[in-house]
Amino acid sequence: MTTDFQDAHERHWSDAEFLFQESRWANADHLYGIAAECGLKRLMIAFGMPFDSKNDMPKDRQDRTHIDIIQKRYETYRSGNLGGVGYELPDPGAFDDWNASQRYEPRGNFDRKRTEAHRKGAEDVRYLVQHARKEGLL
């Protein structure tokens, strides 16, 4: 298998949208988190995140995490980089209350409001990925 963060970002976003339209909040919420994580990891590579091509993963263990951590790691690479001007994410991050282990929780614990907040967070990342393509960063 080959890692393609950009493609993964796009397909997770599309599937999340599909589930969101069907009011499948729990899995939509999960996929918005994964979509945002993949988009940010693609941008982090553009901002200089070391990537281990041999093992097909980020070199630093801290960069192999999910969106609740990655949204902070993203800033580590973005903020020190001249090319990162204009790629800020809102503070506080949209995924502070998201965790990958929530995929084991019952569906009743998820609702529209919670999912919408994470949808907005993923949308912000999506905008940055699209913007990066227009600017030639990706």
Binding site: V85, G86, E88, P90, D124, Q130, H131, K134, E135, L137
Partner: protein, 432 residues
Amino acid sequence: MATFDRILPEVSEILEDFRTELASIDWLLINRDLNGRVRIIAPAVASDGEARRTLDGIAEKLKRRIGPRAYSVENAVLYEDDYEAACEGASLSPLKGFENITIADRLPTAGDWASIAPEASGAPLVVFFSVKGGVGRSTALAASALSLAQNDKKVLVLDLDLASPGLSSALLPEDRRPKYGIVDWLVEDLVGDGDPVFDEIFATSELSRDGEIFVVPAHGRDPGEYISKLGRAWMSVIGSDGKREGWPKRLRRLIDGLKKALLPDIVLIDARAGIDDLSSTCVTDLGAKLVLLFALDDDQTWSGYRILFRHWRLASVAEEIRERLQLVGAMTPETERDEYLEKMREASYELFAGELYDAIPPGEPIEDRWNFEESDEAAPHTPWPIRRNQGFAALRSLRGRLAEIDESEIVLIFGPLIEELRALVEEQNADE
């Protein structure tokens, strides 16, 4: 080899080959990214069928013709649902010969010279600009401010030559300088804390006896870590709604605030010399009523203004800015002055007529066209003359000089400029 300047001619030729097919696509952007590489941005509905084949065909030709300035075919076209979103952050200009195709330029700076803000309401804003330095621009501004204030006017002066600050020292003695300056406000505003600084970024000059001169310097009494602050002044602010406010808009917000707080009759802005980001903001983003183009009759001056005027013409924004422009003949010599001004007007006319004035086709009336005779005294190409004066040559001694000089001498040197600025204020007051 396809250099940057070859991009648009090559793109136009390629698109010409697909003219018929392109007519069925609502809009296209020719996107030149930060590195000067080209992508096409097209509506999402064009991502399959005949339209997709057309766009892939264009992408193939682009790759062949402009090589490293194009992307691989599979990466060459971006599809966007919404035209407005596709255009966001880009400087736009039409692609000649194609009504549905626009060039979207992405620059790493905010100063693209082509986004012309409409005239700001309220007190007229006058920008003092020159393509080269050392032509007496700041001196003329200080003298104008003094003369207007002596005529009982309230004048707001901003030193926006941030990379080479100095105007404020001509108008304010050391002990009157405010605690902060424009750069301090720009940096504090980045963290949402500009208000406390705002109240201490201006001071009144003691030179004026009747009216008032409010001076807003680039930095405060103590410049502090000026270079570290200046390097951050150009940042954008992201609002709580996620919207980006670029630094030109932030500066505009500051000036609007100063106008509201101080109620000046006129605002005079000292812009940075040369074609750079900061001068672009002063000339095009602040809603100037009048842009004074300081000039010497030399090749460097004319070729600099030609680059600028041509950019406005090619970006199809000349009509938005040209009526606000006025040439100023800086440092005109004492001897053979009339001949010097005559030669300057000839060169200036050639420049304005070639780049900004409407062409008059043979046999057509001039009435609705924006065009002037070379000899027209009221034309923007006819220089408002400022006399060379040794006493004003060095800004270092300017404050002392301004304190001693009498009004008649200022009028002798800067007369036409000051008269026009006074008229501008009267006109504004009459309108109100």
